[in-house]
């Protein structure tokens, strides 16, 4: 009897202690700030997006090592929307409504961002979008740390026109919203510079397109008319690899017909044999080869984190880095992770970028960034051949499209609108 009473007592005590420890750990476990990572880890865009997931994980690790945020640890919640655009929206909803993340770092293609936009606005989430895009959008819930067309496409075309004296243009893109809108803007821009209709050739291919024979042959013919021709490529994902291979096979060299790409960076080149690509160009706001103290430190940190000396850094990684650091600053400034407070605190935040200058978050939710044009070298790195003097502030609404010339985005009070028409003085609300 005595033994069993003791036994019961001991069991009760142990159970109590155990559950209180569990309860405490559970309570402690809830003391994290959750960060959602919404990048494709499989499918046609995995070649570009996987490295961004790794970047966010590295920044979370760094922030936790520095003591976390607001006294809590950061926890990354990673999902795989698998290059499936409707799945992006579902996963975004899962991250915000179920996992209760306070911020999402995600998306690459504009179609994925457009899928996610209604969900983010409905649930009042917060997303940082780190990739160059076509503009024509500004959402209260999204911060665009990648380039707008006036920070990438337009300066690239200027470089081709002025430095390389290009007179005939092939606008080749993947068939979705980003290349279609960018090409609309570029066509309007080229025509405003006096380029004739027959000197512009526009071409669209599906995601993952691998049979480039006819198109490269057409480009060759287009470029052999005596005037210098260039290709402005908005081809996204792994379709780039057979495209460049076919250019190499059919003997189109960068000296004859240069290709300037907006979605090809160090990461996309790291998996391919770049000997046929030497001399082709890309336009970004950052290259791994830029020499600055911040960049050297970032590259060293990245190689240590991945444990792989051959991993490369690229522009969307820099945008993720800037976005993350700015978000941390804004949360500290606002004292909370609440979306509305952080959103207001973000505007005006400035911190060093990785190319030796300062990145500033403007009131249209776009950054001011320097524009760099780089040439592909044998080792898959870029040689910077042109750069802007200072930073160029991002313009969400293009000055070259008739419907957007008069529109601005301004999220500060009193305007507080993403599509504010300065002529009619009306806010037209989000266009999904």
């Amino acid at each position: 009897m005595r033994i069993s009473r003791n036994f019961k007592g001991v069991t009760a005590g142990v159970t109590l202690a155990f559950s209180s420890v569990l309860g405490a750990t559970a309570a402690w476990a809830e003391e994290t700030i959750k960060i959602g990572v919404l990048h494709s880890l499989s499918g046609t865009m995995a070649i570009s997006e996987t490295t961004l997931k790794d970047t966010v994980l590295m920044m979370v690790e760094e922030q936790n090592a520095a003591g976390g945020l607001l006294g809590k640890k950061l926890e990354a919640v990673v999902v795989d929307p698998a290059s499936n655009w409707p799945l992006f929206a579902e996963k975004a909803r899962e991250l915000i409504a179920k996992e209760k993340v306070d911020v999402i770092f995600g998306c690459w293609t504009s179609v994925s961002r457009k899928s996610v936009l209604p969900v983010i606005e409905e649930l009042n989430g917060l997303m940082f979008y780190p990739v160059q895009y076509e503009g024509e959008e500004s959402s209260k819930n999204v911060f665009y740390t990648g380039a707008a067309p006036n920070q990438q496409a337009i300066p690239a075309v200027d470089y081709l026109m002025e430095e390389l004296e290009v007179e005939r243009w092939v606008l080749a893109g993947t068939d979705y919203v980003y290349p279609r809108t960018t090409n609309k803007i570029l066509e309007a821009y080229l025509k405003s510079k006096g380029v004739a209709d027959e000197d512009i050739m526009i071409n669209y291919t599906p995601f993952g397109h691998s049979d480039w024979q006819s198109i490269v042959s057409e480009v060759k013919t287009f470029g052999s008319k005596g005037k210098k021709a260039a290709v402005v490529s908005t081809i996204n994902g792994d379709a780039n690899i057979p495209f460049y291979k076919e250019l190499g096979n059919q003997g189109v060299s960068a000296v004859d017909i240069p290709v300037v790409a907006f979605s090809v960076g160090e990461e996309e080149l790291s998996g391919m044999d770049t000997s046929a690509l030497v001399g082709h160009l890309a336009a970004w706001n950052y290259f791994q080869s830029v020499e600055s103290d911040e960049n050297d430190a970032f590259i060293a940190q990245w190689k240590k984190h991945t444990g792989d000396d051959k991993r490369v850094t690229n522009d969307p990684m820099e945008a993720t880095y800037i976005g993350f650091k700015m978000w941390v600053e804004a949360v500290k400034k606002a004292g909370t992770t609440d979306t509305d407070a952080v959103e207001q605190a973000m505007i005006g935040i400035s911190l060093p970028n990785l190319t030796g200058g300062m990145a500033v978050m403007n009131k249209n939710h776009h950054l001011s960034k320097p524009v760099l044009i780089g040439e592909i070298q044998e080792d898959g790195q870029f040689l910077v051949v042109s750069e802007t003097e200072g930073t160029v502030p991002g313009d969400a609404w293009s000055d070259f499209l008739p419907g957007s010339m008069d529109v601005i985005a301004d999220w500060t009070t009193p305007t507080s609108c993403g599509n504010y028409n300065t002529v009619t003085k009306k806010c037209s609300g989000q266009v999904f």
Binding site: L164, Y204, S210, Q213, S214, I215, T221, S224, K225, G226
Partner: protein, 539 residues
């Protein structure tokens, strides 16, 4: 005596620096090159190109190829080829003797941009006009045709007088004719246009087009009517030739697309034809063949040239075995139930995709193309055949012929055809139909694996490779008629050619859609395809 000594000393002091000066120009300019900023490099390249020294083209070529390095410590220039271990094999450009190898980080490469590459190619071309190799001379003349100026005419005339190679001489005459078209001599111009008739070089066409161009008000720019008419005729002959070659080129593209479709569909034609089994995992069997190529290349990194030859039988075996396993474990229980077979094989395709994702990685794998398959055969300036597509076309036809022989001439083939035509009767004749089923499935899957080897050279190798080709394979089999290899051949090539002829007109996306719409309409009229199975036993 003293005067003699002084005189000798003077002589020596005058001649010694003279000797040193013989090396000075190149060494001096190379030294300057190491210290020149990117913006001032073009001018320095011009200075170098003007020096008459056999070592100059070597240096310029190294600069063009990105192989010219400056040592960080003393800015001395070297030509370097990177070794495997981060070192550089160095060569002194002044002495043309191999120096050493040294770690790569002690050197900074001298980078050039596109403009400078253009300039370097032209400078090298001018020097190469005197080269011993006729191919180099030919390439040099072609390069200079892009940049015709009066001093080039003098250079070409000089070369023409001592040129022995016919090809090169012909090109030089074309280049001279182009330059003459800019002169004022009427008779010479007419003779030049006569020479240029039918010439397919693009700059010839452009130059002739400029002669027949019209003003804003419709009047011709060229005032002399005889010259105008002759230029028009020359242009017409060029245009008709260009059209012919473009037609041939599009046909080649269509045939190569057709060969890809044939390879992916023929395995399906066999399994679908003989067994009536709808195999949704066929795309994944192709994908397994492509991954086999990747693994073989990993296993023999030093012998990439032979990797494909090893990969073909390996992929056949791997995919064939997987096919037999699928047949024995899943499909044999579902005979006569097409819907269940479809669902079951769809599930298997998902399993195979995820298995590959887990074993390798969700990202694409890089498969290298051997040297002998890269590049193109340039038949004339407007018609080129890429080697990889040519080899795959031939390969597809060889596989097709082998399969045809297998089916028509071997016992196994006889048994396949017997079971396909009338299973009950075949069994009555003593044929083990179950074993034949397994072998058929294995053969169809093995051929899919071989198709994967070919596809690894043309497209990205990733877990989703199969998804891109399954629809096309079914399309070809349905269009061509089930159970007939010739039907598959005709259907694959006709669909490939149709797609490629429509592509320049409608774009890649719309061309595919139109082909699918056409097939749907065709099937309405001929549900059994182009070459349906004959005989009473066929349903």
């Amino acid at each position: 005596m003293v005067r003699l000594i002084v005189g000798l000393l003077l002589l020596w002091s005058v001649s010694a620096p003279g000797q040193a000066q013989e090396h000075d120009p190149l060494a001096l300019e190379l030294d300057k090159l190491a210290h020149t900023k990117l913006s001032k490099l073009p001018a320095q390249i011009d200075v170098l190109a003007a020096i008459n020294d056999p070592r100059v083209p070597v240096v310029l070529q190294a600069l063009l190829d990105g192989e010219l390095y400056a040592k960080k410590s003393d800015k001395k220039l070297f030509i370097g080829t990177p070794g495997d271990d981060g070192s550089l094999q160095l060569m002194n450009p002044l002495a043309e003797a191999s120096v050493d190898s040294a770690p790569k980080n002690e050197f900074k490469r001298i980078g050039v941009n596109n403009r400078m590459r253009f300039q370097l190619r032209n400078s090298i071309a001018r020097i190469n006009l005197q080269s011993n190799d006729p191919q180099q001379r030919r390439a040099a003349v072609l390069r200079l045709m892009d940049d015709l100026s009066p001093d080039v005419l003098l250079l070409l005339d000089e070369t023409a007088s001592s040129e022995s190679n016919e090809d090169v001489l012909e090109l030089i005459y074309v280049a001279r004719a182009l330059i003459i078209l800019d002169s004022d001599d009427r008779l010479e111009k007419l003779a030049a246009i006569g020479l240029l008739k039918g010439n397919l070089q693009p700059m010839v066409k452009n130059r002739l087009e400029r002669i027949v161009a019209k003003n804003v008000d419709g009047a011709p720019v060229e005032t002399d009517p005889v010259i105008y008419k002759k230029a028009q005729q020359a242009l017409a002959s060029i245009d008709s030739k260009v059209r012919l070659y473009q037609f041939l080129e599009t046909t080649f593209f269509g045939l190569s697309l057709g060969s890809v479709l044939l390879l992916s569909a023929i395995g399906l034609a066999i399994t679908f034809g003989v067994m009536g089994v709808i195999n949704m995992a066929h795309g994944e069997l192709i994908m397994l063949g492509a991954y086999t190529t990747y693994v073989i290349q990993l296993m023999m990194p030093d012998h990439l040239e032979y990797s494909l030859l090893v990969a073909v039988p390996a992929a056949f075996v791997v995919s064939g075995l997987v096919g037999i396993v699928i047949e024995r474990c899943v499909i044999q229980f579902l005979y006569g139930r097409p819907l269940e077979t479809l669902l079951a094989t769809f599930g298997i395709s998902l399993i195979l995709q995820q298995a590959v994702r887990s074993i390798f990685s969700p990202l694409n794998r890089s498969v290298s193309t051997p040297e002998w398959m890269s590049g193109a055969l340039q038949i004339n300036p407007v018609f080129a055949l890429t080697y990889n597509r040519m080899y795959i076309l031939v390969f597809a036809l060889v596989i097709f012929i082998l399969l045809l022989l297998l089916l028509k001439k071997t016992t196994l083939g006889l048994q396949f055809r017997a079971v396909a035509q009338n299973r009950a009767m075949a069994r009555a004749m003593g044929i083990r139909s179950q074993w034949v089923d397994a072998m058929t499935f294995g053969l169809g899957s093995g051929v899919a694996g071989i198709a994967g080897v070919a596809l690894s050279q043309l497209t990205n190798v990733g877990p989703n490779l199969g998804q891109a080709y399954i629809i096309d394979s079914f399309m070809v089999v349905v269009f061509g008629g089930v159970g007939n290899l010739w039907g598959t051949l005709v259907s694959a090539f006709s669909l490939g050619i149709a797609n490629k002829f429509m592509e320049p007109l409608a774009g890649a996306v719309l061309a595919k859609i139109l082909v699918l719409v056409f097939i749907i309409l065709f099937i309405q009229r001929n549900p059994r395809g182009l070459f349906p199975q004959q005989g009473r036993a066929a349903e």
